[in-house]
Symmetry: C2
């Protein structure tokens, strides 16, 4: 036995019966393999988040040739901070993170790491960001718009002729960024493993489930099949299709894959510590709505970028006006009327970011199963975490995490 | 039109009729898509080499957190150097590189770049290394052996019980490294796209071709199906199975995926400029015999490592004795008796490297379709190139490349 005989982080924890380790051995024991029937439960869910590229085809996002932007460390540690636990009684931040099934957490105050927990992964590992990917695409759109390469007032159909007659063809790019295209999800097929509400068809496209005859083979086909509902700009309707439509428009406007744009416009300028990675469909099209994997440190760099109004050091990476427009928030009344109104009272949505409108000016990028960027400029706070929280959203522990963020902001203020 | 409307390098060149650009547009035009019927011809072959991760699942190889080892540039340029062309008449090195379908070439003299040509790719792009991957695995084995984690005198069956009763079970790891296990390739199925002689089944495992019923689903099953032939140590038999068997033994000896070993033992210590990438089967098992993609610069760093007897700067990365044992060469008589004897007169094979036994002490790592490391210590030369040379090996232009290497070595001596 040597140190390499230890379990890889993130594989042996939280196994709810059955085989306790995902992909265990060479070759992996049959019961430990990640497949259509188990990928959405731990330990397989976590393994899949940490090893996305072994399950799904994709493409790296080059970090560029420049130096890594260092995230300095400060004295601190919030692990013992008292927060509200699942039973309503007080617990510690560390205990809450473990109870939620988080994989790692970083808290930065004034740009310095004051708390870090690596529960089920190492700092250099990739983890899926899920819908945090959406918030990243928005920044690309904001940069391109300021450069005159994209007009957010023009429609999806203006940029992509194939979309013109589709349900989202008459939505402006700004309406897509605000989840206001006039679309609705088609009825979900009920299949083993077909959990997850809105994402019908996506798992088949990514090859995580066998494709049923006639189901879409790529994200282009998939989004063109969205049925029409109402008129654009009349309701907040959170759906991956809005994001994939914007991604398609951006590809056509620039002639460039999304991965190359994220590399050039974000990953290189922020001094990312590692190449990121996008899941792709069989055409090589990146899943812009949920396919990005990164390190947790690079997620923190994105959060810090937003906290600094789009600047990384002395360089303005995302236009300050676009960040300000995002942070100002979206149509609060429209949001209140949506499915999310009761779940997130007082919040709004703008440019693929969630705006808390809390006492700290907080805003978030949110990904299913526990992926998060929370930025609270009023507390000079950036908090990021990855998770493998089982079950369909909304997760019952999500509100606890939200209250913990504000507790941390208070403690640091 | 802006600069992004330019063709991506490596897609529009050398198209032999048909659609001139691989994966052209968003979504790609049907005739431009890379699939089972066209992947082995350009422009699709080249696109697939430059975008392997979009076609095949895989895993990144972390470069580590350390600084990039700089490859300094010197005055020079060998593009106009006179070499022998395809018609026997004199031509220039640049013209030969283009005629061969090379994608990029770097020549280093005394550790400095004296010549570089980027024909169909950018310096930061990944390219498949094909069987150069074998030579990389050998270095991992050499390092582990010196650390006492691997005993090259023990057999594959000693390390992997499942292999004990297989055709390669009684081969020592050293015999595997020298391609001397007692195996033979099963008869090849004749299918469209099933070119490539020795690699029957591999394309199905990687998902590049539809899998036929009953064919192996991963590299473990695949290598266990190799028929027995003769006794170990009696003949040189170049085959991917020998490499996959060694990879399996290494995984079992260390409890660690090959990608993590390459990261820790090679990519980090040599100061690689970018994460590398391995193609994987559906178990997440790396294709150690041909699945590694890297930048050309990192291939040059590997060549320089070998030229320096296994040292990168002041750090001994690969044991000097292992490099010396490799460069000394293998059983020349056994090699002469093999299929390769006539093709490479005077050469031998040792530790997954080809030894030229030329006037410059030259040795090579060789990958199908034009991937190469040529190191000539006598001329203080390291030469690397990537290619998309169509057709099954041996390629008719290969001997010209070999003569060009020695011409370059002469010119620099």
């Amino acid at each position: 036995m040597n140190e390499r005989d230890m379990d890889a982080p993130g594989t042996r924890a939280n196994a709810p019966g059955g085989h306790a380790v995902a992909m265990d051995g060479f070759p992996p024991a049959p019961a430990s393999r990640v497949g259509p029937d188990n990928w959405y439960r731990n330990p397989w869910l976590r393994w899949g988040f940490l090893n996305r590229s072994k399950l799904v085809k994709g493409t790296p996002v080059w970090r560029g040739a420049g130096p890594v932007s260092v995230l300095p460390r400060a004295e601190g540690g919030l692990g013992a901070l008292e927060v509200e636990g699942a039973d309503g009684a007080a617990t510690t931040l560390d205990a809450l993170a473990a109870a939620c099934g988080l994989d790692a957490m970083l808290v930065l105050h004034r740009g310095r790491i004051v708390h870090e927990r690596w529960l089920h992964m190492r700092p250099e590992q990739h983890h899926t960001t899920a819908s945090v990917s959406k918030s990243v695409l928005a920044l690309v759109a904001g940069i391109l718009a300021a450069r005159g390469e994209l007009d957010l007032a023009r429609t999806a159909g203006d940029y992509v002729p194939e979309m013109a007659s589709s349900a989202m063809g008459d939505a402006t790019l700004q309406q897509l960024l605000d989840m206001q295209a006039a679309i609705v999800r088609p009825p979900m097929a009920t299949r083993p493993g077909a959990i997850g509400g809105q994402d019908g068809g996506v798992y088949e496209i990514l090859g995580l489930m066998p494709r049923e005859p006639g189901s879409p083979s790529d994200f282009y086909e998939w989004l063109l099949a969205k049925p029409r509902h109402g008129t654009p700009g009349s309701r907040f309707y959170y759906d991956n299709g809005q994001v994939e439509a914007l991604a398609w428009a951006i590809r056509c406007a620039t002639g460039t894959p999304i991965a190359d744009l994220v590399s050039e416009l974000l990953w290189a300028p922020i001094g990312a510590e590692r190449d990121a990675w996008y899941a792709c469909d069989e055409t090589g099209g990146e899943m812009a709505s949920g396919g990005l994997s990164t390190t947790l440190g690079d997620l923190a760099r994105l959060g810090e970028l937003m906290r600094a109004g789009g600047a990384a050091g002395s360089r303005q990476v995302v236009p300050e006006a676009f960040v300000a427009d995002t942070v100002r928030g979206g149509d609060a009344e429209m949001f209140a009327r949506s499915d999310f109104g009761a779940r997130m009272p007082g919040a709004s949505y703008r440019n693929f970011w969630w705006i808390s409108h809390d006492a700290f000016g907080g805003f978030l990028a949110v990904g299913r199963y526990g992926q998060r960027i929370y930025v609270a400029p009023g507390a000079e706070l950036t908090l990021v975490h990855f998770g493998s929280m089982e079950g369909p959203p909304p997760h019952p522990l999500d509100p606890l995490l939200g209250r913990a963020y504000r507790r941390i902001a208070q403690a640091l203020s």
